[in-house]
């Protein structure tokens, strides 16, 4: 078992870190959502690769095949993807509302505009 034999974990980890970095380093709300998506997708891929069996086919009963991939992680991730889509939709909707209310999608700009309007809080 060499360092690269579980390359799927390395890819998932790298994507995860890229996603988290984008979330933290950008003030633009839409870019934050993109980072969040990359981060979530990395975890989905981690799960999906867990269920992969080498040489296995889709888990549909058929006399031709005897080795199947593990379906349960895939089903779990189907649920997690739905959650992810809902989160993205809500996040983007909030970004649109922020743009309507502040005229910008940049978090720092918006905070500055609030601070300029209400000097004492």
């Amino acid at each position: 078992m060499s360092l690269l034999s579980h390359y799927n974990y390395w890819i998932a980890m790298a994507l995860m870190m890229i996603g988290l970095y984008v979330v933290m380093s950008h003030a633009n709300l839409v870019k934050k959502m993109i980072g969040l998506n990359v981060f979530q997708v990395a975890v989905f891929m981690l799960f999906i690769s867990l269920g992969k069996v080498r040489g296995g086919t889709a888990p549909i009963l058929d006399p031709q095949f005897t080795v199947y991939s593990h379906p349960l992680p895939h089903v779990l991730i189907l649920t997690a993807i739905v959650v992810g889509v809902a989160t993205t939709a809500l996040g983007l909707a909030l970004a649109v509302r922020v743009h309507e209310a502040y005229g910008t999608t940049d978090e720092d700009d918006a905070l500055r505009r609030d601070a300029a309007e209400t000097p004492q809080r």
Partner: protein, 490 residues
């Protein structure tokens, strides 16, 4: 019928949400939400009656037996969180019509109630499920509806607060998902009781340690445990008053319950406290949280923000109780989880009444109000004294339990920090009391009374008073809960 109670606890609010959306009329949507909240409370009380003496109810969803199907479990561990959520849901239902009419635009009111139903379903689901993955799903249901509820606050700052909460909350939720994935990869099971049996032989496994770490960090974000609390003050301060009662009272508490269930019900106290230093880390974070949260609260000028920072401090007490990893500590954690939820919910309700009356929530808006509305402010005094932990309040019951646990574990430094935090609580509660009782009230006519809102405040205050006078039932459940968690399988 009664054997389906565990499922109905979640199914009723889940179905009520689309019903609110279909009905569209504000009054009808409120009716649906109120009926849902009452039904949830009735079910919680029935479940409480069956399990408070240490019994366990198991319900196989769809008839699929336990390790394969999803199982709902009700035992001493989760009846208190379920009861807390349902009581606060009813409190919100009584409170909402007047508060919502003044804070939410009329065309959006039915969506507000739909979100409340979903939030309720999510919290109750986290509480009742016995399946590790199901916790994640309900966690995200409650979080997503929570983001929407916060975004409906009256100022545009609420949008930014909701977005920040969404980003941090999603990272937290995804961390929990990673932890569950690693757990599943190691054991091949998702049922909590089944996992509890499969995990102990793996105590040396690195991936298991990573799983616990991911779940701990993820739930700590959701529970606003120091230092992962950054989203919390804004989120509580900007949300509308009705939603803030259940958000502040139950939202973080249910994540702490989930953490206790994972840490002790699945991973086991031995892994948390002996194999890994998580217990000591929690003690440290709890101590810093309770001192820092209370200290920052002293400098706030907005009362909601003050209460939110006070919550970070009070969550520190619960975290310390969890970190002790002994029966006395967990018992104190459960007691404080319940008592603080009721106290903080009541205090946010009082702030909502002040907002309706004066149009703001800063300390200046409280000036002299205690003379104008002595009844409401009597409950504020009661809640404030509870935050400090003065004898004959609910806060004292749980703080005393925690102090006893700390003395038993000989954690003198933590005890000293707890006393320091209580003194700081005296300062911030004192500021509110000083402003409300001893400053001159502004002129102007009295705003119309809001009987529903006052009723909510009194209901929560009397409940905490009842716990202060006779805490035997709650304390008994908390003891059973601690024993169940440290004794092994849920």
């Amino acid at each position: 019928m009664t054997e389906h109670l565990p499922a109905l606890q979640v199914v009723i609010p889940l179905l009520a949400a689309p019903l609110c959306v279909l009905l569209r009329r504000p009054g009808a949507a409120w009716g649906v939400y109120a009926a849902t909240a009452l039904a949830s409370l009735a079910i919680s009380l029935l479940l409480f009656a069956r399990t408070f003496d240490g019994g366990t109810l198991r319900y196989a969803l769809g008839g699929w037996p336990a390790p394969f199907g999803i199982e709902y479990v009700v035992d001493a561990v989760n009846v208190l969180p379920l009861l807390l959520v349902s009581v606060l849901a009813v409190a919100v239902a009584i409170y909402a019509p007047r508060a919502v009419a003044s804070e939410i635009e009329r065309p959006r009111i039915y969506l507000y109630y739909a979100c409340l139903c979903l939030y309720l379903a999510g919290l109750l689901g986290i509480g009742i499920t016995g399946d590790a993955f199901n916790v994640f799903v309900f966690l995200e249901i409650s979080s997503l509806s929570g983001y929407a509820l916060i975004a409906m606050g009256r100022h545009r700052r609420a949008l930014l607060a909701a977005f920040r909460y969404l980003v941090m909350g999603t990272v937290g939720g995804t961390f929990v998902l990673i932890g569950i994935g690693l757990l599943y990869a190691l054991t091949g099971s998702l049922n909590m009781a089944d996992l509890a049996e499969r995990v102990p032989p793996l105590y040396d496994n690195r991936a298991l340690h990573a799983a616990l770490g991911f779940i701990a960090v993820g739930l700590a974000i959701k529970a606003a445990v120091f230092p992962l609390h950054a989203w919390q003050p804004d989120a509580y301060a900007e949300s509308s008053s009705a939603a803030s009662i259940i958000l502040a009272g139950a939202g973080a508490k249910i994540a702490l319950y989930a953490f206790m269930r994972y840490a002790y019900g699945i991973f086991g106290g031995e892994l948390v406290a002996e194999v890994l230093p998580l217990g000591r880390v929690l003690l440290l974070l709890g101590v810093v949280g309770m001192v820092l949260g209370s200290a920052v609260a002293c400098f706030q000028t907005d009362v909601r923000r003050l209460l939110a920072w006070s919550s970070i401090g009070q969550i520190g007490y619960i975290v310390v109780g969890i970190g002790l990893a002994d029966p006395a500590g967990l018992r104190a954690a459960f007691l404080h989880l319940f008592n603080h939820g009721l106290i903080k919910g009541g205090l946010f309700a009082v702030v909502g009444i002040v907002l309706l009356r004066t149009g703001g929530t800063s300390l200046d808006h409280f000036a002299g109000l205690a003379r104008r509305m002595p009844g409401t402010f009597a409950t504020l005094l009661l809640g404030g004294l509870g935050l400090i932990g003065v004898p004959l309040t609910a806060g004292f019951v749980s703080k005393w339990a925690l102090a006893q646990a700390l003395i038993g574990a000989q954690q003198w430094w933590v005890l000293a920090a707890m006393l320091a935090s209580s003194l700081l609580a005296l300062v911030y509660v004192g500021r509110i009391i000083e402003t409300a009782w001893f400053r001159e009230p502004p002129g102007g006519k009295a705003a119309p009374a809001a009987p529903g809102m006052s009723a909510t405040v009194w209901m929560l205050a009397l409940l905490t008073l009842w716990i202060a006078v006779d805490s035997s039932a709650i304390a008994g459940v908390a003891s059973h809960a601690a024993q169940t968690l440290l004794g092994g399988a849920p």
